[in-house]
Amino acid sequence: MAYNEKVLDHYENPRNVGSLDKGDSQVGTGMVGAPACGDVMKLQIKVNDQGVISDAKFKTFGCGSAIASSSLVTEWIKGKSIDEALTIRNKDIAEELALPPVKIHCSVLAEDAIKSAVADYRSKQKGSL
């Protein structure tokens, strides 16, 4: 199977690989997928006092499309408010990367990762109130 150019670009030059401090109350961490299924995504967001995502990092175990999907969403969500970030749909990711049908689940996982990271951030905020 030949890969789409955008997938290859994100795969070869992944944006925002790395980790943020899990213990930081400004940081939300989402971990989705399962090793047995062949893909696990960790997405972390750092949210500033204005509720804007100032930084995002990912680590992904998975195929090229999974890596590209997570790399792409880190680019997309940076600078967005968390509410805006939550409007990103897997369809948008799949379209941008021209994912074939068998790789759609990679984009679903990336959408789930955003939701999961935001949910973690919000639960931390609630806890600190």
Partner: protein, 404 residues
Amino acid sequence: MNLPIYMDYQATTPVDPRVMELMTPWFSTKYGNPSSRSHPFGWEADQAVENARAQVAALIGADPREIVFTSGATESNNLAIQGIARFYKERGNHIITAVTEHKAVLDTCRYLESEEGFQVTWLPVDSKGRLDLAQLEAAITEQTILVSIMAANNEIGVIQPIREIGALCRRRNVFFHCDAAQGVGKIPMDVEEMNIDLLSISGHKIYGPKGIGALYVRRKPRVRLKPVLFGGGHERGMRSGTLPTPLLVGFGAACAIAKEEMVAENQRILALRQRMTHGLLNRLTHVEINGDLEHRLAGNLNISFAYVEGESMMMAIKDVAVSSGSACTSASLEPSYVLRALGVNEEMAHTSIRFGLGRFTTEEEVDFVIETVVQAVEKLRDMSPLWEMAQSGVDMQSVQWDAH
């Protein structure tokens, strides 16, 4: 050194230039139909076909009259299993095979089971991929007509105890079919010494052309088959269809070369594989070799690189042509059934890469591949959340994953 490097010799092999040269005239000037008895075009083609038949037979210790040409090992497996089952169905309805066989064997057996009332026993293998002889013997019943076991596995290169299986089948009066697509030309195969009744061979796995293969069918004691293809009654009625002379000439030549060079070639390839194994194991941790290392084809190295998914690994080493047991590389999205049968967990199956070395693999290529793979694994582990967790001491088994 040319890129990309081919390391997928279990998938297919290039046609040896010596083979190619011999084939050429049979496409252009010597185009007769070997079945044409009435003119020299047919006679010369027939002679070439019979010469090829003798070359194939010689490689496996058979009589030329025991060789039936087919389109390849898939067809040979179909003909052997369907042919025996249908011819001997009055004698019994039970077939024994193993879970790590090639799909051409598994799916043929499954078809006979679901559509034609046969009973099939699917033998398990141990964690090294080897069959247990006692289990095989225990599975044989009064109804058993056929045991079908491969010589060497296509994914992990593990060699089965064919001689022992042959002796057992002969003693219990059960036909023994051996899918030797990966074995012939790589390891010594002798149908007499090994008591094999039917043996499948593929041309393109031994530096011959694609689209040609053979089924060895024993004459003494005679083994009979119901044909699968009907027509002009070629190949003693067992496989109709005009014989493709150029492919046969190539297949025969490939067998002759294999017979001549197998021992020396194996030593050379084994040394390359050992170089590669050591190169990788010395520089990487959390690496597992899948399948028995002792009973194994020289040219096969199947390795799981923990925490690095197979497809992304193949993208990272795009200058090296390999295959993976990862789900993402298959249409079914299921990881390799062969690795699963060895008890390799799904996670590790997703991280497996099969390196296939062969006749034209060089030391320089092996060194390049080691370097490329080590860099790729390091890069992808840096990017892997699982590696990060493992490094910080998280017990992966204790994590609650949301399976999807």
